[in-house]
């Protein structure tokens, strides 16, 4: 299940979540799976302060936080990445929106995740995503990807993809590596590579090595 290319040393995590229940749940989950939680905060300003103080390997941030219970978490994550460039942030939310993903990824530089809160329940997947983000990769919720994959033009080149290629594209947009895609879809790594180069040529995308750059390319194509 785990992607061997992802760094597996214990990671230091800051958690920003206003619900005490979820905060404790996340802490337990991360600590039982080889992480260490260095700070737990319940609002946006103390999250930014905690990132500045602890310089964590990755932060887990809830979108909704006091005082307005709107998108403070998202703004705080962007602010933290402005103050500490490249600090990895995994944003959790009860709902996901394409636009928020675009805003988060707009800063570039990798180390960004945006997942539905429900995904936490699948511990292996969640820890995988957390490590991927900590290592400078990307983790985008399948729900966001699905929103991106809706056909928006009649002459959409997406329509020329085979069903398998669409699956590979979706997995790629989520931020998975080639091996991750192969495992998720139950195919070989070689087959994955073939699908990917076919997708890139059909969509006129520039090929790139790192998973994060690939996500940006796919988003640029899907998100216009």
């Amino acid at each position: 299940m785990h992607d061997p290319f992802v760094d597996r040393r214990p990671i230091r995590v800051v958690i920003a979540e206003d619900s005490a229940l979820i905060r404790e749940g996340l802490t337990r989950l991360i600590e039982e799976n080889g992480g260490s939680v260095v700070a737990k905060v319940g609002d946006a300003p103390s999250f930014v302060a905690a990132v500045l103080e602890h310089r964590p390997d990755v932060s887990v941030v809830d979108v909704r936080m006091p005082p307005t219970q709107r998108d403070e978490g998202l703004r705080a994550a962007i602010e933290a990445r402005r103050l500490v460039p490249g600090t990895p942030v995994l944003v959790l939310s009860q709902y996901v929106e394409r636009q928020y993903a675009t805003e988060l990824l707009a800063g570039g530089a990798g180390g960004v995740g945006y997942l539905l809160k429900d995904r936490v329940a699948d511990i292996a997947e969640f820890m995988d995503a957390l490590h991927r983000v900590a290592a400078g990769g990307t983790a985008l919720d399948p729900d966001v990807v699905a929103q991106l994959m809706v056909l928006r033009r009649r002459d959409d080149r997406l329509a020329t993809l085979t069903p398998r290629e669409r699956e590979v594209l979706a997995a790629m947009a989520e931020g998975r590596t080639n091996l991750g895609i192969a495992k998720a879809l139950g195919i070989t790594e070689g087959a994955t590579e073939k699908h990917i180069s076919s997708i890139f040529s059909k969509l006129d995308l520039a090929e790139s090595e790192t998973a994060h750059r690939r996500v940006l390319a796919v988003l640029a194509y899907l998100g216009d």
Partner: protein
């Protein structure tokens, strides 16, 4: 009471004096002369417009059966509308206080809508009635004014006439007549002078009377408007309550049928698993996986429910972002065209209604329209927010009682807006909604 009465008693002689003064000086008042001119003009307007109307109606009426008659009758109605404008001008020429003309129904698209505007518009028929009433009235006014002005001017000219007659006839006039003449001529002249303010005031009075008729028939009636407005507000308030109640009922039902049931199942699975965990760890694990699946689905259902009741992106980022989001979820390729400024916010109730109109319309399109393309348009027209949803599907959508579109109409009307749908069989369909952006001060 007493204090209110006393000053009015005290000023009474002053007021009488003022009125008397006004009466005596009325011939020097330009408005009186304008009134006289307006009466003469009104005579021509009244007779000519009546003649034209009669011609249009009799010719058109006899041709109704070949349809072209409708056009001729319509021409007559439009003629009355033009007369109404001239008459408003004529009244304001005498008395410049502004008159607010009543409004007419706009011509819609299509022959039927045009005919409805032409023949079902109360205010257009009021114009016709005005022309019918104005015809005898303007003749009466003209006759009265001419008689009294002629008498006055005629009597005042008696000295001149007498002088001319005397010059012409010379000695043939009997001596007693010559003797009595200066006195008679003087009396006639004074009588003519005395009639002058009567003629001027009468002209003024007749125009005042006519103005009252114009106000009654051709002007916007504030009381009727207010009554209509109260009626509209009453309806929109009850629609608002209706919308709210059905919304709550839907949420309650969705919670009951969805998430609540799932949570019950989850609790059952968990307690079964805990019973089994010692003797049958594999079975317990399967049950726990079931429980996790129940929890996942309950979460998904709750998320959909929350999105349906209060979409977070609408609160966070406003209408345009939320429309982009809802369009992005639509399985049919949908473009959003908006001329709203990014970050420009409208009152929340307005944004919410606009959002639901679009969301519901897109759901309908996806479900029924067999469309291949869909457009969401959003713009501000003065103080109204306009949203439109267009699709190239099979058309034939209509507002039916209890249907989704009726719910939308209630929602829009609750905010004093309007919703209409153009959906000919074979498509395309256009849903158009307008919402006042200042609901509390809207006309």
């Amino acid at each position: 009471m007493m204090s209110a009465l006393k000053p009015s008693l005290a000023t009474r002689p002053d007021r009488t004096n003022a009125l008397l003064r006004e009466f005596v000086l009325s011939p020097l008042e330009p408005a009186s002369w304008r009134a006289a001119a307006a009466i003469v003009l009104g005579f021509f307007i009244g007779t000519i417009s009546f003649a034209l109307l009669a011609a249009c109606f009799s010719a058109g009426g006899s041709l109704l059966i070949v349809l072209v008659g409708f056009a001729i009758v319509g021409l007559g109605v439009e003629l009355c509308r033009a007369v109404a404008r001239i008459e408003l001008w004529r009244m304001q020429y005498v008395d410049p206080r502004p008159l607010r003309p009543h409004t007419y129904r706009q011509y819609g698209r299509g022959l039927r809508a045009m005919a409805e505007a032409e023949f079902m518009d109360e205010n257009r028929w009021r114009d016709v009635i005005y022309v019918l009433v104005s015809f005898p009235l303007s003749i009466l006014e003209f006759v009265l004014a001419v008689v009294i002005w002629a008498m006055s001017v005629g009597l005042m000219l008696t000295p001149v006439i007498f002088y001319v007659v005397q010059r012409a006839l010379g000695d043939r006039i009997p001596a007693q007549v010559v003797h009595a003449a200066p006195f008679a001529v003087a009396v006639a002249f004074v009588a003519g002078m005395a009639l002058l303010p009567v003629a001027a005031s009468l002209s003024h009075g007749l125009i005042k009377l006519h103005r009252a008729v114009v106000e009654g028939l051709l002007c916007a009636n504030e009381r009727a408007e207010l009554r209509q407005r109260v009626e509209n507000l009453r309806e929109s308030r009850s629609a608002m309550l209706q919308v709210e109640a059905s919304e709550l009922r839907r949420i309650e039902r969705d919670l009951h049928d969805g998430a609540q049931q799932r949570l019950v199942m989850l609790a059952i699975d968990l307690s079964l698993a805990s019973d089994r965990v010692d003797n049958d760890p594999a079975g317990a694990k399967a049950l726990m996986n079931d429980a996790r699946e129940q929890a996942r689905q309950a979460l998904a259902e709750l998320r959909e429910l929350v999105r349906g009741a209060a979409p977070a992106i609408l609160l966070d980022r406003g209408l345009v972002a939320a429309l982009g989001s809802v369009a992005g979820r639509c399985p049919i390729p949908t473009v959003v065209e908006s001329t709203l400024q990014a970050g420009e916010r409208q009152p929340h109730a307005v944004e919410r209604a606009a959002y639901f109109v679009v969301a519901e319309a897109l759901t309908n399109v996806a479900k029924h329209a067999t469309a291949t393309r869909c457009e969401v348009r959003c713009r501000l027209e003065r103080d109204r927010l306009v949203v439109e949803v267009w699709d190239d599907g099979k058309g034939g959508a209509a507002v039916t009682d209890g249907g989704g579109l009726a719910g939308l109409r209630d929602r829009v009307e609750a905010l004093d807006g309007l919703l209409r749908i153009e959906s000919p069989a074979g498509g395309p369909t256009l849903l158009h909604a307008e919402l006042p952006t200042l609901p509390e001060t809207a006309p």
